[in-house]
């Protein structure tokens, strides 16, 4: 089946329009001013705290997933011929 | 006291389940016969304890089922349902007796399905909750579908699918109407309920006339297709003709369309947006079905097909009488349902016998059967005469009540229907003359008369046709009581 590029372009454009219009049309409930901490510009510490406290279980699961995919990817990429 | 209404569903269902596991034909038929006898006993018990002087619901039971939706398992019997239950309970045992000696595959399933069908149809008749009603309503499709599909004639697969899909689609539209009614009433009262009587009573308070019309029409569409009536009848000739004899009789006993008309549609009718228009519509469909069915039957060459169209013609009386909206015309319509069940059972059984003994149903290929099958001829003659409305048999009472009292409101349509009476006589007598009278057609070989079980079963039904034709009161009185309640509702609204 041939791919209809103009149609794909149109659909992509349509989608963009929908999303952008939607994004513009929504009144986002955001903070009025970005928090500024001149002393420490980075928030790495905060992220690290979150990952290892609140999100520790997903983190651990993610590590297992990564490991599994790593093993799987290596196994498949290695192929059967190189046994 | 026994919970009769529930038992009427449960007993045939249990016997059906056991019948499925039997091994031989005699076991299956015997067990099924026992089950149907038990049902008949229960029905007679209910009938004898029935008070026909009140239109109120009797033998009422209700158990909470899905409280959040307001659906209950509630069943009961009144004057609309009692005669139809009686009809079912009476005919099924004789149907089983009639078909006992026939050879067929998988008799256990055959008889099991008959009983399942009985349970489902009685379930529809006793249900007082739309959920229960609809479940049994759809359950009736299954045994009939298999009846036609497994034991039917040549074009059985096509006929069974046509029947199934057609009436199922109609049922879905009806379901849509039921949901519409349910939600509209929920919005109105804030309490969800599926109770039939409650919802029907709520109907008048609902929103706009347009909405009420839509709900009414979509619900009645399911009933009209099941009844059936012109122009929603095209599943009927195929299904009736292709079904085995027992299947055809089960189709005849499937009186749920007309029942729904009386139970649900008629009380709603006066509250629709344009009641006059609806009455005209129903009256026209009824009267035209009568005429149409008889004229098309006139041209049929297949005996069973002819009877099928004649059945369509008879169903027109049910609709015409309902649209008449006079107490006696509505009771006439109810009586027509009852009488039609008995009469058509005889006719389909006769046609079945003719087919199995001569191998053909084409009227012109028959001839002179009266000589070889005198007993069949007598019974068939009673059936034919009853069907063409001979006084003294049930058909006349129903037709007279419908015609005479519908005339009060719908004179034009009644005159239209009257034209059909001569034509009805025409095709029956033509069939009688060609098939039974005249010189015996030697090509048919040696045919034997009906066996004694068949004589007994058909004879008893024929006697009932005669009995209720002479004395309709045992069932007619309760019908009059019930239809008075329906009509007084309409009269109160000045329709």
């Amino acid at each position: 089946m041939r791919i209809n590029r103009p149609l794909a372009f149109l659909v992509a454009l349509l989608f963009t329009a929908v999303v952008v219009v939607g994004a513009f049309g929504t009144s986002w409930n955001t903070v009025s001013e970005l928090p500024q901490n001149p002393a420490d510009q980075s928030n790495i510490e905060g992220i690290g705290m979150l990952i290892f406290t609140h999100y520790v279980a997903p983190f651990e699961i993610l590590s297992i997933v990564l490991l599994a995919s790593l093993v799987g990817a290596i196994y498949m990429a290695k192929g059967e011929g190189n046994k | 006291m026994l919970p009769v209404a529930s038992l009427l569903i449960l007993v045939p269902l249990i016997f059906a389940a056991v019948t499925f596991f039997t091994k031989t034909k005699d076991q299956a038929a015997g067990l099924a016969f026992l089950g149907s006898l038990a049902t008949l006993g229960l029905t007679l018990d209910a009938y004898l304890n029935f008070d026909s002087s009140t239109a109120a619901m009797q033998f009422f039971e209700s158990i909470e089922w899905i409280p959040s939706l307001g659906a209950n398992y509630s069943v009961g019997i009144d004057g609309i349902s009692m005669p139809l239950i009686l009809l079912n309970a009476i005919v099924i045992p004789f149907l089983i007796l009639y078909s006992w000696k026939e050879e067929r595959e998988a008799p256990n399933r055959f008889y099991g399905l008959i009983l399942t069908m009985q349970a489902a149809v009685i379930g529809v008749f006793v249900a007082l909750d739309f959920m229960v009603f609809y479940i049994f309503w759809e359950l009736t499709l299954i045994p009939l579908f298999f009846m036609v599909n497994i034991w039917g004639g040549e074009k059985r697969v096509h006929a069974s699918y046509k029947f199934f899909i057609y009436t199922h689609v109609a049922s879905l539209i009806m379901l849509l109407g039921i949901f519409g009614l349910f939600y509209a009433s929920w919005q109105q009262t804030g309490v969800p309920t599926f109770d039939i009587r409650e919802l029907v009573a709520q109907f008048q308070f609902l929103g706009s006339g347009l909405l009420r019309n839509a709900i009414f029409l979509s619900i009645i569409f399911g009933f009209l297709a099941k009844l059936p009536t012109f122009p929603f009848h095209s599943w009927l000739p195929d299904a009736y003709t292709e079904a085995p004899t027992a299947g055809s009789v089960l189709f005849i006993l499937l009186k749920i369309g007309g029942y729904g008309l009386f139970r649900i549609s008629l009380p709603m009718l006066p509250n629709t947006g344009n009641p006059k228009l609806m009455i005209m519509l129903l009256g026209f469909l009824g009267a035209f079905s009568i005429l149409y069915g008889s004229l098309v039957a006139l041209r049929q060459k297949d005996l069973k097909r002819m009877i099928a169209y004649s059945s369509l013609s008879h169903m027109g009386y049910v609709l015409l009488g309902s649209a008449g909206l006079v107490t006696l015309s509505v009771s006439g319509a109810m009586f027509q349902q009852f009488s039609h069940g008995l009469i058509m059972s005889i006719l389909f059984m006769s046609a079945g016998v003719i087919q199995s003994s001569t191998g053909t149903r084409i009227i012109n290929n028959l001839g002179g059967l009266a000589k070889k099958m005198p007993r069949l001829t007598v019974i068939m003659m009673i059936g034919f005469m009853a069907s063409l409305g001979l006084p003294g048999l049930t058909g006349f009472i129903a037709e007279f009540l419908v015609l005479a009292f519908s005339y009060v409101n719908l004179p034009g349509f009644v005159l239209l229907a009257l034209l059909a009476i001569v034509i009805t006589a025409g095709y029956y007598l033509w069939a009688m003359q060609r098939a039974m009278f005249g010189v015996y057609n030697e090509k048919l070989g040696d045919v034997r008369d009906i066996n004694s079980l068949q004589v007994f079963s058909m004879g008893v039904i024929a006697l009932l046709v005669l009995y209720f034709g002479l004395n309709p009161n045992p069932v007619l009185n309760m019908m009059i009581t019930s239809s008075e309640a329906i009509v007084s509702l309409a009269a109160a609204l000045g329709v």
């Binding site: 999303v19 970005l34 992220i47 999100y55 990564l66 196994y75 990429a77 | -």
Partner: protein, 100 residues
């Protein structure tokens, strides 16, 4: 200060570009690349909202999703490689073994 909507617009644009790529390309590797693009536009959104609501959850999620994207890319490329080895093909629509 850059308004939030700019980030969202950029993300939408990125996503659409990825989408267009997925819709037009047959080459498996290119498609995976385009999917990565779409994924990252989502990450962009996550981070943007996270910043503009003064919570860190979104950014943590972005990190998770980057990690998952890595896993997914690894597996995806591995599958493609296996397929390429078996069939000598990389055009996805020519692979019919799982189609009706």
């Amino acid at each position: 200060m850059i308004p939030l909507i700019f980030y969202l617009g950029l993300a939408a644009l990125l996503f659409s570009i990825g989408l267009y790529g997925v819709m037009t390309h047959k080459n498996g590797i290119r498609m995976i690349m385009c999917i990565e693009l779409m994924l990252n536009s989502a990450n962009l959104n996550l981070v943007a909202f996270s910043s503009y609501t003064d919570t860190l959850n979104g950014q943590v999620f972005a990190i998770f999703s980057i990690a998952l994207a890595a896993a997914e890319a690894a597996v995806g490329f591995a599958i493609l490689m296996a397929i390429y080895r078996m069939h000598d093909k990389i055009n996805l629509d020519e692979l019919k073994i799982l189609r009706w």
